[in-house]
């Protein structure tokens, strides 16, 4: 009954109650919005790694290697494949796989008639591919490089971003298959939109990213040249558009075939590691540096976050600090408002005591009124915060740093850099918002109740 009485008192004093509720709601909305957005951005950033099933990516950087028709992307350097096995056996490593990411150039007929006018490579005649400059810095951003093909005719070169993967490692790597019941049995999974996954017996077979296949007009069963001398049969189409991923590719081929195409032996250029715990990050990274050398490049979730443009100028901690400051300010206002309420209701408090309310009864009344304001403010604020977070997700365009992917500027498809920011309401955050509001409102009510309880009843009645 005391709660009902408190509710009626709260409801009948609409103006005061509305102001208190609005104060709580706005501060909670700000906090929930900030936490929703930062959580979503962190989730999106983490998904770039989690999409590969890895906690850490190990690479080796070097000077940009010279142009070849099949070459390592940009500044990536080859790592001996044995390093993958040694890392896999290291304490704290749950799984490891090596990927050989390549740029494979194939000759295509140039568009337009005048071949010479389209030449943008500084050589003619019997040029060898290895003499050509690196195409990662193309002479023209919107034109493919050109060179004389095997038939002696000037042809354009079209790059395909190829990843050589171990078909036996479906759960880690850039073409990771997500958890799927029966995936090991039927070779199909949620990421395969047509055809099948590569098998260990495949050779010149490829899975294509579905947007790449669409751009090229390819379907399962078609063939595609990857590099200057090999045709690959398309056996599957993979949808990798769900999330940005590190070391994404347009075509996936067996690792052994990729190594043959590169011609540098059993090497990889990107190693994906899943770790047993976060504590393993540093020791495993140290071991990788020990094995690979000073040019080792380690990428973890922290590195991705640091390199991501999201929240570049205002970090999560800053935003949360601002929210907490606003919350604290709102809390102080609430306490002040509750104190004012006591001052304005001295006669009522005196009356309550005169008719037999104990100090604890009066205190409970004020705490309950504060809790009502807090509960309503918390619910409204949490809802507003969730809507604000959702709205941010609709307009946010967050991308991975381009340095974490290896697409040439003239690639057929864009690098999978766009982070998928999902800002759906989190029940945990909504509850947190309400809980914080309740704590603040109840504390304000408690402060007021202490003052109310301390009032001498005869003095209170006299003052009224």
């Amino acid at each position: 009954m005391l709660l009902r009485y408190a509710w009626r008192g709260f409801w009948r004093r609409r103006t005061r109650s509305a102001l208190v509720v609005a104060g709580i709601a706005l501060s909670i909305a700000l906090l929930v919005a900030v936490l929703t957005i930062t959580r979503s951005v962190e989730g999106a950033i983490a998904s770039a790694l989690s999409a590969t099933g890895a906690d850490m990516v190990v690479q080796k950087r070097s000077d940009v290697c010279p142009f070849r028709l099949v070459k390592l992307p940009r500044d990536l350097a080859a790592i001996d494949a044995s390093v993958v096995d040694r890392l896999r056996e290291h304490e704290g490593v749950a799984e490891a796989t090596g990927v050989l990411e390549l740029w494979a150039f194939a000759f295509v007929e140039p568009e337009g008639g005048d071949v010479q006018s389209q030449m943008n490579l500084p050589f003619t005649g019997e040029a060898r591919a290895s003499d050509a400059p690196d195409v990662s810095a193309p002479q023209s951003a919107d034109q493919p490089p050109m060179m004389i093909g095997p038939d002696g005719e000037m042809k354009a070169l079209a790059p395909t971003v190829v990843a050589g993967i171990d078909p036996a490692k479906k759960t880690i790597g850039p073409a990771r298959m997500g958890p799927h019941e029966g995936a090991e049995d039927d070779g199909k999974c949620c990421a395969i939109v047509d055809g099948r996954y590569l098998t260990t017996s495949d050779r010149f077979h490829t899975m294509l990213a579905v947007d790449y296949a669409r751009a090229k007009g390819l379907e399962v069963g078609d063939t595609i040249p990857l590099g200057p001398s090999h045709e690959f049969e398309v056996v599957g189409l993979v949808d990798l558009s769900g999330a940005a991923r590190i070391a994404g590719a347009e075509a996936f081929i067996p690792l052994t075939v990729a190594q043959e195409m590169l011609g540098e032996g059993e090497v990889v250029d990107t190693i994906f590691l899943s770790l047993e715990s976060r504590d393993a990050v540093e020791p495993v990274a140290d071991y990788a540096r020990e094995l690979i050398g000073p040019e080792t490049s380690i990428t973890t979730e922290t590195d991705v976050e640091a390199g991501t443009a999201a929240l570049a100028s205002v970090t999560r901690n800053t935003l949360v600090a601002i929210s907490l400051f606003v919350l604290a300010f709102a809390g102080l206002l609430l306490v002040r408002s509750a104190m004012d309420s006591v001052a304005q209701r001295v006669d009522e408090i005196g009356l309550m005591k005169a008719i037999g309310w104990r100090n604890s009864d009066v205190a409970r009344l004020f705490v309950a009124e504060g809790a009502y304001a807090a509960l309503i403010g918390g619910l409204i604020g949490s809802a507003l915060g969730a809507v604000a977070g959702w709205a941010y997700g609709q307009v946010a365009s967050l991308q991975l740093p381009a340095s974490l992917n290896y697409y040439p500027p003239c690639s057929t498809t864009e690098a999978p850099l766009l982070l998928s920011v999902s800002t759906g309401p989190s029940p945990g955050l909504l509850l947190l918002g309400v809980a914080i509001a309740l704590v603040i409102g109840t504390l304000a009510g408690f402060a007021a109740s202490r003052r109310a309880a301390a009032l001498d009843p005869s003095e209170a009645l006299r003052r009224a």
Partner: protein, 239 residues
């Protein structure tokens, strides 16, 4: 009327300490009140009437002396016990009714029952009975601001008796009412007294005090005279 003392006031003094001054509100006041008596406390403003009622009602504590009500020494009660005493044994009626403006008449009368354990039905029945007794039931759903002064005071009396206390303390209960409404309130207090309650009414108004069985006169905190009235010869019309 039971001649045995229900209220015993002995050597009661109350001094208010203010910065730079002291005010003796009550000085060595002693009297007894038998159960069921209607006592009028007469005196000018500042004579100590309200202070006396507050101390007997457990709202204030004496500087010296002793007060016992129903055999209970109020000085021996702590804050919690005093609150329980006020809840169970005392009903207050104030000059300005002191109804909570945000609550309906029904809710105002319910107020003393709010912190008490019990079913809603039981409490509602008590409220309805109190409203019925004070003839204000037809205004139960109204806010105090919608009531006349007399109706507000009747609602305040209903609130005072909803817990069925033995002792009713009324401080200038007719102070803000016209004669007609004042008489109706006095009728009500007399009726409640006749039902067995002990009633103490403080007023500076002779007409109000006239309904009492006995009148105590206070001047500057001292009990200066005491007189018995002849069986409420001056009872208001309608009695």
């Amino acid at each position: 009327m039971d001649d045995e003392a229900y209220i015993t006031v002995e050597g009661l003094s109350r001094t208010y300490h203010r910065p730079g001054s002291e005010l003796d509100a009550l000085v060595d006041v002693s009297f007894t009140v038998p159960r069921g008596q209607f006592v009028g406390i007469m005196g000018h403003s500042g004579a100590g009437k309200s202070t006396l009622l507050n101390i007997i009602g457990g709202l204030d504590r004496p500087s010296s002396g002793a007060v016992s009500v129903g055999g209970v020494d109020l000085a021996a009660l702590d804050e919690e016990a005093l609150a329980i005493y006020r809840r169970n044994s005392v009903g207050f009626v104030f000059q300005d009714a002191k109804l909570v403006p945000a609550l309906t008449v029904f809710e105002n009368v319910m107020l003393p029952l709010v912190p008490i354990p019990g079913s809603d039905e039981e409490k509602s029945a008590k409220v309805e009975a109190a409203l019925e007794e004070t003839n204000i039931g037809h205004r139960a759903s109204h806010l105090p601001g919608e009531l006349s002064g007399g109706e507000q005071q009747r609602a305040a009396v209903a609130r005072a008796i909803v817990n069925d206390p033995e002792l009713l303390l009324a401080d200038e209960p007719t102070g803000e009412l016209d004669r007609h409404n004042a008489d109706r309130i006095l009728e009500l207090l007399v009726r409640l007294n006749r039902e067995g309650r002990t009633v103490l009414v403080a007023s500076h108004d002779e007409a109000t005090i006239a309904v009492a069985d006995r009148v105590l006169c206070l001047e500057e905190g001292r009990l200066t005279s005491e007189r018995l009235v002849d069986t409420r010869s001056a009872a208001p019309e309608g009695e």
